[in-house]
């Protein structure tokens, strides 16, 4: 398995390199950071704009390969270059990864667990009330784009505040309340409160997909001979279901989870923008809008590495769950 993983890793690394290079070249060729300095009042002389852009390595009059070489040299040494206005991409990256990390980590892990648990539960209760409720709910959620879900939850939060609690119980905008006074715990509480609705959005969006998938996978396994054998052998029902049915039924879901990872990142982008979180997703959109070549390339690289990591994780987890892979 070690050799297999090493080969996969090498393949993924080549892919990450190509993806990031393509993103850089594409962004450098098509985006125009110069526009950010032109048309200002008072106008900036062209020579000054050129000098500024060249200093940040985003001057579109420098040959593209020179810029690429310079950028690549920086990346190899761990420096992603400068924003269009001279800020350090590394600095932004560190800050925004932490912001998105909170959302993504909690949302993805909870979404995955809830989805798999709900799917397995629905399969065991097939065609009974819990199954019908869960399946219908998941089906409706699946048809709902993340941005619709996010805005809808925001509206619900606002209505709950106004009509039920008559004061602001739920926060649904921003990461924290900057005007808040009080001690450490009220700040922690405030941040947690701001996390509730964005996390709920990601959780529901991720869980609905996994739930339906897991339900089907579990149903396939429930009727199989080895689960019956496990029961006949005298295992308790829950043990037989957990150790023999769920374990097998987990394998396809794990595979799906990796594919879903990039989707979750895009979903998080919507969530960040709608809930006013200044994370990677929002940064990605604003950096494209403000022609920020180096930022775009850096974000692409981080996402590519995340997808790589998720794929590797999938290989390992499937290896643990499915003994046949280990032998083969």
């Amino acid at each position: 398995m070690g050799k297999y993983l090493a080969r996969r890793l090498l393949n993924y690394l080549v892919l990450v390199f190509i993806a990031t290079s393509m993103a850089y070249l594409l962004a450098a060729l098509t985006l125009n950071p110069r526009a950010n300095y032109e048309g200002r009042n008072p106008p900036i002389p062209k020579a000054s704009i050129d000098r500024t852009l060249s200093a940040f390595n985003i001057n579109n009059e420098t040959p593209i390969l020179t810029r690429y070489g310079h950028w690549l040299n920086g990346v190899v040494h761990g420096d992603f270059g400068r924003d269009w206005d001279g800020g350090s991409v590394n600095g932004n990256l560190g800050r925004k990864m932490w912001v998105s990390g909170q959302l993504l980590l909690i949302g993805t892990v909870l979404g995955g667990l809830v989805g798999i648990a709900a799917g397995a539960y629905a399969a065991v209760k097939q065609y009974r009330i819990p199954d019908n409720l869960l399946s219908t709910g998941a089906f409706v959620l699946l048809a709902m784009p993340v941005f619709v879900l996010a805005i809808l939850l925001q509206v619900i939060a606002a209505k709950l505040n106004v009509n039920v609690f008559h004061h602001r119980v739920f926060e649904y905008s921003g990461q924290y309340n900057p005007a808040l006074s009080g001690g450490f715990f009220s700040h922690i509480g405030d941040r947690l409160n701001h996390l509730i609705f964005p996390t709920l959005t990601l959780l529901l969006a991720g869980a609905s997909y996994l739930m339906l998938y897991q339900r089907n996978a579990m149903l396939d396994v429930l009727g199989s001979d080895y689960v019956r054998t496990a029961r006949a052998k005298g295992l308790r029902r829950t043990t037989a279901l957990r150790r023999h049915a769920l374990r097998t039924a987990l394998i396809p879901s794990v595979t799906l989870f990796t594919y879903a990872f990039a989707t979750i990142f895009v979903g998080a982008t919507f969530t960040e923008i709608i809930y006013g979180w200044h994370g990677m997703g929002e940064w990605f959109v604003t950096s494209i809008q403000s022609s920020d070549t180096n930022a775009v390339a850096a974000i692409t690289m981080v996402v590519a590495i995340l997808v790589l990591f998720a794929s590797m994780l999938q290989d390992v987890v499937v290896g643990i769950l499915d003994p046949r892979v280990r032998v083969g």
Binding site: P145, V146, F147, I151, L152, N216, A217, Y259, Q289
Partner: protein, 309 residues
Amino acid sequence: MTIDPQELMGTVTAESGISGTAPLDETRVPSRMRIVFRRFLHHKLAVAGLVFVIVLVLLAFVGIHLTKWKYTDHDFNALQVSPNGSHWFGTDLTGKDVFAATMRGAQKSIIIGLLVALMATGIAALVGSFAGYFGRWVDRVLMWIVDLLLIVPSFLIIAIMSPKFHSFWLFVVLLGMFIWQITARIVRGQTLSLREREYVLAAKYMGVSGFRIIARHVLPNLASLLIIDATVNVSVAVLTETGLSFFGFGVQPPDISLGTLISDAQTSATTFPWLFLFPAGFLTLFILSVNLVGNGLRDALDPTSGQAR
């Protein structure tokens, strides 16, 4: 299921063999279609989904002419009014009729969805079957491209190219380029097993070229899978399109899509809910109905597969 398809097909072909008038294929095709159709009708949710799809499409393309307002009109005497007899879905800040705008946006989203789905399924079928049938370097090169496109920031490419070139067709092609990869893998896997079947081997040893075998034997055998996939891809395409348009990277003004409408309504969703609820409701209902049809088709075409995909 009440009917065993194999048995029914067997009787039909036997009959046609006796009468000997029609060639085998012609009697078989409608009968299989009828079985599939009957099975589909048994699936009540799927039928409901189909009815809803038809109603929504009619609403978007015919219903839009029932109101006297055009999506470009501004009714300055009714700014931000809630739904009423004249403006069925209300109006927005500039007095635009939300009903007309929603239907116009829905037209765009539906057309893009259909075009992209056809394109994506077509590419997936070709790439997957070629990689699976020819194997060796063809397989390696094609699957490497699939891996690359999965990791390449498709979102970024569309986000940069689409507003820059302002072209509807480029947008459709770009969308199609980025949603076929997973299906291509599935098609490849199926082709790998089809390749070893007796009839394919027989054709191969008779000297039939690989391209012909793919066209005559491999792809028709995957028809069920491809039809289901095309249906699912419609909802995937509409979701992607509206998502990109939501960010301003998709359909460009003055054109509107459901995504741009929802994006415009985002900030006022709590105060003027009709601006958000109608486009969002249309979108969700459409995707839900398409998914239901897709599910029904899966059960009807491929009753042995219990898998979600």
